[in-house]
């Protein structure tokens, strides 16, 4: 029994870590701008495409990896600057539509550049190597991901709690207008938030695509949405919440992928039910349930509108 479940659990933890790195971007941006950055998943995808093209040009890894991360952060910064900043005073719906427009644009740009073909992701040595853990044979990246995720989250929490810009971020997410009056440079805080979010999505893409090996213009959509669900599940605006939500979703999704086999080996079903179809649907069912039962998520703060 355990031997059947273990490989799914392991890849669940790994994917969960990758979702977590994306989810932080969603949760931080929402915390500050109250905006669902629909383009965030596509930034993650673009990071994957950048890695493909930069590696193809023959640049060694120790240059290409930092370069990808820097460019991804820059893209995040530019998106905010071009598509969201001019709409600061506009209704929330307009900004959300702009985000959807950016998502559409990024996907179409990549479609144009790649010709809509699957791009083979370069092999990153060491983390692409195979390893056997207990009953599971997997890539090192699977084991490596959760540790790197926790490390990065720890660093991020230190940044938020102990630096000046971190304090500004906390202030802005608590009360946008008042922080502005207190002389905090809102635009700088927002830019930094986007840069951090995109940077983490870039790291996530290195891990994720090493595991999945190909990138296409739609690769960011599903992980992006799932990471968003993770952020909502954990309570949007809360970084630990997003991380825990992401791990829960990653694990649950992978268990469902293997549920037919697990149930079959446990003798509970006689033939496969095709439940793997629902591994994506499950995430959204979870979202709808959590929103109906506890809209603020696991760690979210309750807010009341003033009448």
């Amino acid at each position: 029994m355990w031997n059947t479940i273990f490989p799914y659990l392991l890849s669940g933890i790994s994917v969960g870590g990758q979702y977590a790195l994306i989810a932080i971007g969603y949760t931080m941006v929402y915390g500050i701008l109250r905006l669902i950055n629909f383009a965030h998943g596509d930034v993650f995808m673009v990071a994957g495409i950048l890695m493909v093209y930069i590696s193809a040009s023959g640049v060694p890894l120790f240059i290409s990896i930092p370069l990808v991360l820097i460019l991804t952060s820059l893209i995040g910064y530019l998106i905010e600057h071009i598509a969201y900043k001019p709409l600061r005073q506009a209704p929330r719906m307009s900004v959300m539509i702009s985000a959807i427009g950016v998502s559409y644009t990024l996907q179409n740009l990549v479609l144009y550049i790649t010709g809509g073909l699957n791009q083979l992701y370069p092999t990153i040595p060491w983390i692409s190597n195979s390893i056997t853990v207990g009953s599971a044979s997997t890539k090192i990246v699977t084991i490596f991901t959760p540790f790197l995720t926790i490390l990065l989250v720890f660093a991020l929490v230190q940044l938020i709690n102990h630096t000046k810009i971190g304090m500004a971020m906390r202030a802005v997410s608590k009360d946008f207008e008042t922080s502005q009056l207190m002389g905090i440079n809102i635009n700088r805080v927002i830019s930094v938030t986007f840069v951090i979010g995109s940077f983490l999505a870039g790291v996530g893409s290195l891990l994720y695509f090493t595991n999945y090996t190909t990138v296409i213009q739609t690769s960011g959509a599903m992980p992006g949405l799932k990471a968003f669900v993770a952020a909502v599940f954990g309570g949007i605006g809360s970084i630990p919440g997003a991380v825990i939500g992401a791990f829960i979703i990653g694990i649950a999704e992978n268990i469902i992928k293997g549920l037919d086999i697990i149930l079959f080996k446990a003798g509970l079903i006689a033939k496969p039910l095709g439940l793997a179809t629902f591994s994506d649907a499950f995430t959204f069912a979870l979202l709808i349930i959590i929103l109906a039962v506890k809209p603020t998520g696991l760690f979210g703060e309750k807010t009341t509108d003033k009448v």
């Binding site: 669902i36 071009i82 929330r92 179409n108 479609l111 949405l225 959204f284 109906a292």
Partner: protein, 374 residues
């Protein structure tokens, strides 16, 4: 819409608008008899009519009720499947449902009955999903409805539902728009109606939506959009009115889905993606959030550009011996995206703002409300 208490009859602007719409329909009918039926014009009109209906339904939620729903693809999928499942001729079922012994549904309904059924089933799903989801704030609602569409897409492809949905296989051989053409005994077409009828169906549905918007219920929905708390204080029950708008919008989106099935001649769940919803949202935005006329105009424009006028961007073009740079597969969509971003960022009113067709005929007298706002 005019606020004065009119006894009976229509205003001058309304009469002019009616004439424009009628003239358009007559032009379509005439064109259909003259122009070869393979012309791109008809592709655009058929798909444009379908998208117009779905876009107006979405506008009813986003523009008039203030509910930011992104579940359109899901409701279209439901409509398309219900229509297809209930209209495939019984004789053809064995070949369509070849992996499921001809399927378990063994009825073939008339086209219009099946279309209404498509709308009703979509509305029923909207009712179920609306119960938990409509309580949410704008952006959570957007993601929850988006998620719902994804769930629907997965469920319809599930192998265990194959006897009904044909699993992940295609549904085909159901009646399409071409079945509206009138043929003589030899099977030759005598009167072409394959474009006019879908346009009439869409026009009829949109007319109903316009009547709804201008009724006391439409005012209540607009009140909710403007200020939920004030609307509630005016005795408007938020939950039931939102639920009503959601179900009605989904009903017409379901009919739009049935029309899409007829247009495409085949149906497969995997094609009803989030990108489809985004396209419709962008049509609504370009037309003007809160304008039915805008949604209609922008649907035809959008389809015409993507299927016809901007197709050349996807192919290599030579001017003499000079090859125009950048033009190759996918460039059309890049141009499209840029246009959309420009509209979203710099022309937030879209083509029409919140104006409607009759407003265009209104003489510039004093500044009335709508103009003051535009």
């Amino acid at each position: 819409m005019s606020n004065t208490v009119k006894k009976k009859g229509l205003s001058r602007e309304q009469v002019l608008s009616a004439i424009v719409v009628l003239a358009f329909y007559i032009a379509v009918f005439v064109a259909e008899q003259i122009v070869p039926s393979t012309s791109m014009l008809f592709t655009v009109l058929k798909k444009g009519a379908t998208y117009a209906l779905v876009a107006v339904s979405m506008n009813l939620l986003n523009g008039f009720t203030g509910i930011f729903s992104l579940g359109q693809a899901g409701f279209m999928l439901i409509g398309a499947y219900v229509y297809a499942i209930f209209t495939i001729p019984i004789a053809e079922r064995a070949s369509v449902y070849q992996y499921y012994n001809g399927g378990i549904v063994q009825v073939a309904l008339p086209i219009f009955i099946a279309m209404i059924l498509a709308g009703l089933v979509a509305a029923f799903f909207a009712f179920l999903i609306g119960l938990p989801v409509l309580r949410l704030k704008s952006d959570y609602l957007a993601v929850a409805t988006l998620g719902f569409a994804e769930i629907i897409r997965a469920v319809f492809q599930w192998d265990k539902l194959g006897p009904v949905t044909n699993g992940s296989n295609m549904l085909r051989l159901f009646p399409t728009f071409n079945d509206f053409n009138i043929r003589n005994a030899n099977g030759d077409v005598t009167i072409y109606l394959s474009t006019l009828v879908p346009m009439l169906i869409a026009g009829f549905c949109i007319a109903l939506i316009i009547l709804l918007i201008n009724s006391t219920f439409g005012r209540a929905l607009r009140a909710i959009k403007d200020d939920e708390i004030a609307a509630e204080a005016m005795g408007i029950h938020l939950a039931s009115h939102k639920q009503l708008a959601f179900c009605i919008s989904s009903f017409f989106t379901g009919i739009g889905g049935a029309m899409l099935a007829m247009y495409q001649t085949t149906v497969q769940a995997k094609s009803f993606t989030t990108a489809m919803t985004y396209e419709i949202l962008l049509i609504v935005v370009i037309g003007g959030i809160g304008s039915v006329t805008g949604s209609c105009i922008s649907s035809f424009l959008f389809v015409a550009c993507s299927e016809w006028w901007l197709r050349f961007l996807d192919q290599k073009q030579m001017i003499g011996s000079f090859e125009v740079p950048l033009l190759r597969n996918g460039f059309r969509l890049v141009v499209f995206s840029l246009i959309i971003m420009i509209v979203v960022l710099f022309f937030r009113q879209g083509i029409m703002g919140t104006r409607e067709l009759p407003d265009l005929f209104r003489r510039k007298r004093k500044k009335t409300g709508k103009e003051a706002r535009a």
